[in-house]
């Protein structure tokens, strides 16, 4: 178990170093940063001095080492655009994205799994067919279109939910939350559905296909032959056996939700990291872009690590193989 964890951590470190290299290379490909920092009338001597001060004359390897060292200490430099530390920009934006992503993920899981189990067990009922038709819509419509449709129906026509922003937020320490105010919660509904709908349909379809497969296995037949109740068979024996692939996908998708909240945040003008990233791209704000890249990679790696550890918890067979390997 310990060896397994250490090996996974080692692999995670390698992935992070690779991404860091990409993020670092970003700086060197988008032209001379000095040009973007200083005005037209800055003299060449002043530019050289600035270059020296920022360490841009050092060998590339030294610069890369410094970049890693700073990143490891959670220091990504100063935003070219707003001239403030990237770290504090992220700290401002992260809670919004995080709350949106978690709500969307919960929406996807809490609705997707029961719907998947139901459609897996009652294959031919009309409700299953309805669920599957709805999920087809969720899978085939692009996110921005769903967002715009929801805005049209609930904000424009019915006027019950806000169409943009985060509503009122409460500040708790360094964290701003919209979960404690009515307007904050209301503002969360449409973006969360928009962001989570695709994931929910994915979870539904995955759980359904896994259930169909597991329900055909001998141990389910044997569990029925032992006289166990339908509930024990379906939820105890079958569902648990479907969870390994489901957790893998949910884990990957959770990363995707955070990373690709960009579109939803743009549609709803949600003040999160995605919106920040879009603005950074428009302004060629490299420090922000590279920090975002690193942060998203870090979240992916972290989630995958948790998923791997969850496998071990769910499936005893992984424990053995992990120990042997």
């Amino acid at each position: 178990m310990l060896a397994f964890t250490i090996r996974r951590l080692f692999e995670a470190a390698i992935v992070m170093l690779t991404v860091a290299l990409l993020a670092f290379v970003l700086f060197r490909f988008v032209g001379d940063p000095i040009n973007q920092m200083v005005g037209q009338d800055t003299s060449i001597a002043e530019r050289e001095e600035l270059r020296e001060r920022l360490g841009l004359n050092d060998p590339v390897l030294v610069q890369f080492g410094r970049f890693i060292w700073n990143a490891a200490r959670y220091d990504f430099g100063i935003s070219y655009q707003v001239k403030r530390p990237v770290t504090s920009l992220i700290a401002e934006r992260f809670p919004a994205t995080f709350e949106l992503a978690i709500t969307a993920a919960l929406f996807a899981i809490l609705l997707g799994i029961p719907m998947g189990v139901y459609t897996g067990i009652h294959r031919d009922s009309w409700l299953s067919k309805l669920f599957l038709s709805v999920s087809l819509v969720g899978i085939s419509l692009p996110t921005f279109l769903i967002g715009i449709l929801l805005i049209y129906v609930f904000a424009v026509q019915l006027g019950v939910l806000p169409s943009f922003g985060r509503g009122e937020v409460v500040r708790i320490g360094g964290w701003t939350t919209g979960l404690l105010t009515a307007s904050g919660l209301k503002a969360l509904i449409l973006p969360a559905i928009t962001l989570g709908l695709f994931q929910m349909t994915l979870v539904t379809r995955l759980v359904r296909s896994q259930m169909l497969e597991v329900l055909r296995t001998d141990y389910i037949k044997f569990a029925r032959a032992r006289g166990l109740s339908d509930r024990a068979v379906n939820f105890g024996h079958a569902l648990k056996n479907t969870l390994i692939p489901v957790i893998t996908i949910i884990g990957l998708q959770l990363g995707a939700i955070i990373a690709f909240a960009i579109i939803t945040e743009t549609v709803f003008q949600w003040p999160g990291m995605g919106l920040m990233f879009i603005q950074a791209v428009q302004n060629a704000d490299i420090p922000v872009m590279s920090a975002y890249l690193l942060l998203v990679a870090f979240l992916f790696v972290l989630i995958n690590l948790i998923v791997d550890l969850l496998y071990v918890w769910i499936d005893p067979r992984v424990r053995i193989y992990g120990r042997e390997a």
Binding site: T217, D218, Y219, K221, F222, A223, R224, A225, R226, G227, L228, S229, A232, G236, H237, K240, N241, I314, D315, P316, R317, I320
Partner: protein, 329 residues
């Protein structure tokens, strides 16, 4: 037989409605199993052996359905019970053992938890009592150090050990009847004998009736009291195991016996029944076996024989019918 048989199957018919008409997979199957008796069911793949077993325990999967006949357990009719009424019978009064022990156990639960779960589903026991009983059962099926092994996962057991666990699971509520569907097919030969001996001993001790489905005549000869030979969904011959093996009445049974290598046979070719069993969509008129039968005559091609008594057995063959006893052999 004066006492009530543990299991009594009468004129069982199982159908599969399909788009191109109804397929009759099992037709007019009747047999009894007395308490403590082992009835072997043999036949080629697709003869309807497993389907009969599945129907008895009430686990036929749609669209398959029982279209006729009766199944009685200790005199009580069970084939027409509602789903919820059938559930307490499964596991409690009828235990089932499947072919492959490697896939019969849920890989994610400790074997102890699976046994305790089954015990507590059927018997009013506390967790602790059920655990003690599970340990006793595991010891009884020959698992050493059961107190320790009870907390192992299925993958930590070998195939033979797992089949022992499966037996313990099937026996845990002291059922009246065990349906063993090819219980040894997936095991290697040395383990097969152990499992068969174990099954035989446990059932003799408890007076449990056994329906032993297999295509292995050796297993039948070793274990069963009586044997039923199935062909294309019907019983071709049923009788005491010695008689069926030594002096079979039905040409199909003789063919089956001829295809078993014997130690005395010195290098002779094994006989082989020509052709293969008809598909359900194309069961021939008359006796289903007539196209492959070396003794078939006109009547076999037009009229279907029912089971007829001959010696201590019943055989569905015109050769043993009284009026055709003189027919050319």
């Amino acid at each position: 037989m004066t006492e009530t048989p543990t299991l009594s199957v009468r004129n069982l018919r199982i159908e599969f409605p399909t788009r191109r008409g109804t397929l009759v997979a099992v037709d007019d199957v009747s047999f009894d199993i007395a308490p403590g008796e082992v009835l072997g069911i043999v036949g080629e793949s697709g003869a309807g052996k497993s389907l009969t077993g599945t129907a008895i325990i009430g686990l036929l999967e749609p669209p398959g359905r029982i279209a006729g006949g009766e199944i009685r357990l200790n005199g009580q009719r069970i084939d027409n019970l509602a789903r919820e009424a059938m559930r307490p019978i499964r596991g409690k009064r009828i235990g089932m053992v499947f072919q492959d022990p490697l896939t019969s156990l849920n890989p994610l639960y400790r074997i102890g938890d699976q046994i305790i779960e089954t015990i507590r589903t059927h018997l009013p026991m506390s967790e602790r009592e059920a655990r003690a009983r599970a340990i006793d059962l595991l010891t009884e099926v020959g698992i050493q150090g059961a107190e320790r092994r009870i907390d192992s996962y299925p993958h930590e057991f070998s195939g033979g050990m797992r089949q022992r666990v499966v037996l313990a699971l099937a026996l845990c509520a002291e059922p009246d009847l065990i349906i063993a569907d090819e219980p040894t097919t997936a095991l290697d030969v040395s383990i097969q004998a152990q499992i068969i001996q174990l099954l035989k001993r446990l059932c003799r001790e408890r007076g449990t009736a056994v329906m032993l489905i297999t295509h292995d005549m050796g297993v039948i000869a070793e274990t069963a009291n009586r044997v039923a030979v199935m062909y294309a969904g019907r019983i071709a011959e049923i009788g005491p195991v010695r008689e069926v093996i030594k002096s079979a009445h039905h040409p199909y049974t003789r063919g089956l016996m001829g295809s078993i290598p014997s130690l005395e046979g010195t290098g002779d070719r094994l006989t082989q029944i020509p052709g293969s069993m008809p598909r359900l969509t194309a069961i021939p008129k008359g006796c289903a076996f007539n196209p492959r039968c070396p003794h078939a005559f006109d009547r076999c091609r037009t009229e279907r024989p029912d089971l007829m008594p001959v010696d201590h057995s019943l055989a569905a063959c015109w050769l043993v019918a009284p009026q055709t006893a003189e027919a050319p052999q």
